[in-house]
């Protein structure tokens, strides 16, 4: 029916991946030596893919814009990684992880992909432990777990509040091993500036050496984009400052479809904005909702200090509205609930755009348990609090410290102030079951693709997906694709397509350098972010989206007339890097608005104000919108929509309820 073929294998859901692995084509070791693969990005997806492919014998070139692959933003993931190990004996299973993820995604993801993700989740934990990732353990020496939002089992493996760091350093070490072995050639401080298509196949990239400014051509038999999400289109987000959409956007402009671009995850627990100089937002891990309670005062404009507000004058609104899941409702639900309270005038803090995340009762609860453990039945209140603080410090110490560093408040004594912030983008380049985009030879992994999280990602699932794609999916599916290329031989970078792609890059940079306007890149980025946050953020409506589209168009025009990029293109020039990235964000933002406007329903992180229940919950329209919106780029005029209908053969979409 459309140009999109998801290539989902036939057969029962639970057997699809195994059957597929049994039947796909392989490349023998001797031939792997003759095949080149480019991996862009060295986060969890990129590093794990590059390492695994290197181990298998492919010649891999890995690119990252940071000064070391170890700095990719996966490193900042705090809370944990899900896996259906059922080490807790609490009823977890591959099916349940699959089901939770599908439901958490509000029935806008592909069943087969999600089931595969749940299947390989268990291998990921094994792999990471074998690499020396120091997960949290219990006294018996076995792995510990905690629970995360949107689920009722404890399946999250963690390493204090630094799980992403530990997993990334594990993948980085595997990558480093392959660099030492000569299987992977590393290009740090290199940014992908364009994709090169030769005869309808992705055959290389144009990269800029960020230190010298040199433009380089790199060819390969396949290109893997593992470049993360595009949350920085909002300017303020929990993403790293350098996180950008350029790689995937350039691929999009070369024909790759962009799937569900408007699906953005707004994380409920971030440190609120404190001023207009603010450059980024900091997440406080979702794991804090395990023990913390979220509340606002029952009275509007309550000026008392939070500790002075008595229990009965507090509104624990998540516990009130969602008794079954309480503070552990999924992120989209928790974020909207916070926005609802603040919009209604109950917000706290100077800006009134914050709610409290309170650890007082957890400290007391843990303190009592610890007093019992230490056989202190008559412990006084001070002792209990002291013990409780120690327990909380052991679990969340680094997060509490971080909060104190940023805000100057001590969260052991006073509730933290938090507010939702842009965190993750479920949308991304459209890929089939094999993680290949609609462009032959262009694979997209991790957050950069659209595939597994539907309209809302559950906590601790991003790390799972990144590593699943890199360690356990693409090593198989890439071989299937490359089996056709064993006789191709090296790809020449002298082809006219390379020349053309390079010229596009230099032209863009020359144009940017030549404007010499009077406004900085950040000025435009901030302006774009404001439009996106106000009109394509936590709540969207038709009118706002239409306004946003024309505002972004105008802003883009102004950018190309008034921006000032200092320095030279043939040198280390961070402002030029930013300008190139913002130029792409200015195009992406518009597409996101088109997508949000097209989707006349509310689902997951996409909340259209026109489509909600009387209680203010998201109202899906399964009849008309059970599809992936895959957008095709058009040089002029509006983007073209292609639909991939989502078939639910195993799970029946129902109204998501966490009550």
């Amino acid at each position: 029916m459309s140009v999109l073929n998801s290539n989902i294998p036939k057969g029962p859901l639970a057997e699809k991946w195994q059957n597929h692995k049994n039947s796909i084509r392989l490349v023998n070791p001797a031939n792997k030596r003759n095949l080149d693969v480019i991996v862009v990005g060295t986060g969890l997806a990129g590093a794990s893919a590059a390492a695994s492919l290197g181990e298998m014998g492919y010649n891999v070139k890995a690119f990252c814009f940071q000064d070391s692959p170890r700095r990719a933003h996966s490193i900042a993931a705090q809370g944990g990684i899900n896996a259906a190990k059922n080490y807790r004996n609490d009823g977890d299973s591959v099916y349940r992880l699959f089901y939770d993820t599908i439901k958490g995604g509000d029935y806008r993801s592909r069943e087969a992909n999600v089931h595969r993700l749940a299947e390989v989740s268990v291998n990921i934990i094994d792999q990471c432990v074998a690499q020396g990732v120091p997960f949290a353990r219990e006294y018996g020496g076995l792995l510990d777990n905690r629970s995360f939002g949107g689920v009722q089992v404890s399946r999250t493996f963690y390493a204090k509040g630094q799980t992403g760091q530990q997993l990334l350093l594990g993948a980085y070490s595997a990558l480093s091993r392959q660099v030492a072995a000569g299987q992977v050639k590393l290009y740090s401080r290199h940014e992908m500036m364009n994709l090169v298509m030769v005869d309808g196949k992705a055959r290389g990239i144009i990269a800029r050496n960020l230190v010298t400014g040199e433009i380089e051509r790199h060819s390969a038999h396949a290109v893997l984009l593992c470049t993360g999400g595009y949350g920085n289109v909002f300017y303020l987000s929990t993403n790293a400052m350098g996180s950008n959409v350029t790689a995937t956007w350039k691929a999009h402009k070369k024909g790759a479809f962009f799937g569900n671009p408007c699906f953005t995850q707004i994380h409920p627990t971030c440190i609120p904005v404190s001023g207009d100089y603010q450059s980024k937002l900091t997440l406080m891990s979702e794991s804090l909702r395990n023990d913390g309670r979220i509340w606002v005062p029952k009275a509007k404009d309550d000026k008392r200090k939070p500790v002075d507000i008595p229990e009965e004058e507090r509104d624990y609104y998540l516990e009130r509205r969602y008794p079954a899941f309480g503070n552990l409702v999924p992120r989209d639900v928790a974020s909207r609930a916070a926005k609802e309270r603040c919009d209604a005038g109950y917000g706290v803090g100077q800006s009134k755009m914050a709610v409290y995340l309170d650890y007082a009762s957890a400290i007391e609860r843990y303190g009592k348990a610890e007093a019992n453990k230490q056989r202190l039945p008559n412990a006084d209140k001070a002792t209990i609090l002291k013990l409780g603080k120690q327990v909380v410090a052991a679990k969340y110490g680094n997060l509490f410290e971080m909060y104190e560093k940023i805000t100057g408040d001590n969260p052991y004594e006073t509730p933290m102030r938090i507010y939702p912030a842009v965190h993750y983008t479920m949308g991304g380049l459209w890929v089939d079951y094999n993680l290949m985009s609609n462009l032959d030879g262009l694979f997209v992994l991790g957050e950069a693709n659209f595939s597994d999280h539907g309209a809302n990602r559950l906590g601790a699932s991003a790390l799972m997906q990144g590593l699943a794609d890199g360690y356990f999916v693409v090593p198989y599916t890439l071989g299937n694709y490359l089996a056709d290329d064993i006789r191709t031989g090296p790809i020449s970078t002298e082809a006219p397509e390379f020349e053309q792609a390079e010229k596009e890059v230099t032209d863009t940079m020359d144009r940017l350098m030549s404007i010499k306007g009077d406004k900085t890149v950040d000025y435009f980025h901030k302006a774009l972010g404001k439009i996106m946050w106000d009109k394509c953020g936590m709540a969207r409506n038709e009118q706002g989206l239409k306004e946003a589209i024309s505002e972004i168009k105008a802003l883009r025009e102004a950018f190309w007339k008034e921006v000032r990029v200092p320095g030279d293109k043939n040198e280390f020039n961070p402002e030029l890097e930013k300008a190139c990235r913002v130029a792409d964000f200015l195009e992406l933002g518009e597409l996101m608005c088109y997508d949000a406007l097209n989707r006349n329903e509310s689902c997951g992180g996409h909340f259209r104000e026109e489509y909600q229940t009387e209680e203010g919950e998201a109202l899906r329209d399964d009849e008309n919108y059970t599809y992936v919106a895959a957008w095709e780029y058009k040089e002029s005029g509006e983007p073209v929509l292609h639909k991939e209908t989502l078939e639910f053969e195993n799970v029946k979409p129902t109204t998501r309820s966490y009550k």
Binding site: E55, R70, G132, G141, V211, G275, F472
Partner: protein, 262 residues
């Protein structure tokens, strides 16, 4: 938000490129909000420089939440500035006073050549990890994660060492520009875990050899690195690496082709 803003004098190292000499340049920055992070203060300075037609100050930064290890400024004579346990990006202006003069320099080490202004090249750290900072396990070859129980204390100690963010503050602050804390953190992490045990000797030898080759200085055990490490990594790890290296040097059989490469 009309808190008391601050006026600051900044002395910043400016260097066009690796091969050109640099110098300290004075700037004045007014109206700094104490709630800003240090890097946001630098952003404001750069915006003003760009608007004035001058070259902004190049500096490395990315996550701005204290974990990627990219930010690297030597502020008022100390790596990552005056607060302990804090990266530059997590340092906030509330720790400075109105009228303060702040000197800002890049990490200085032969093994960290300056790229531009405050940006340095830390790829020597990558090469040290490549020399052996890993467990040789291929994807798919892992046993069940709970197959080998690891005492909690060992796992916790390994974690403490593994929290290293590779920022290079240890090198920057060491009077000898030694990388011992960085290298020992990785050696320790893997030596403490059963998964790292089979290669521990070879790993210690190779990583130390690479460290020496990169041109880092020697350890004088001043303990400065431990104080300035934003993750509070202990020099106990350095002692552990000394043990590992010593044992490996004395008992290790002649190297074969090296650590299993693939």
């Amino acid at each position: 938000m009309s808190q008391n803003t601050m006026n600051l004098k900044l002395k910043i190292w400016r260097q066009k490129g690796a091969s050109t000499p640099g110098k300290m340049v004075d700037y004045t920055l007014n109206g700094v909000n104490p709630e800003m992070s240090f890097l946001e203060m630098m952003d404001v300075l750069n915006q003003q420089l760009i608007e004035a037609g001058e070259e902004p100050v190049a500096f490395d930064h990315d996550c701005r939440e204290g974990i990627c290890g990219m930010c690297s400024m030597f502020i008022n004579g100390r790596a990552h500035g005056p607060m302990t346990g804090t990266t530059t990006c997590q340092l906030h202006m509330r720790h400075f006073k109105d009228g303060d003069t702040i000197t800002i320099e890049p990490w200085r080490s032969a093994a960290f050549p300056v790229i531009k202004d405050l940006s340095v090249d830390r790829s020597s750290f990558d090469r040290i990890i490549q020399a052996g900072g890993y467990v040789s396990v291929n994807t798919g070859a892992a046993p069940d994660a709970n197959a080998i129980p690891i005492p909690k204390e060992d796992a916790d100690s390994a974690f403490d060492a593994a929290t290293c963010i590779g920022c290079g503050a240890c090198v920057a602050t060491c009077k000898n520009a030694s990388a011992m804390l960085f290298v020992s953190a990785k050696v320790s992490q893997l030596a403490l875990l059963p998964q790292g045990a089979p290669e521990r000797q070879e790993r210690a030898l190779r990583m130390v050899e690479q460290m020496d080759k990169e041109g880092f200085g020697n350890c004088t055990n001043t303990g400065a690195c431990e104080v300035e490490c934003p993750k509070g990594i202990s020099i106990e790890n350095i002692a552990r690496m000394n043990r590992e290296f010593l044992r490996a040097s004395l008992v290790k059989k002649k190297k074969k082709a090296g650590m299993a490469a693939s």
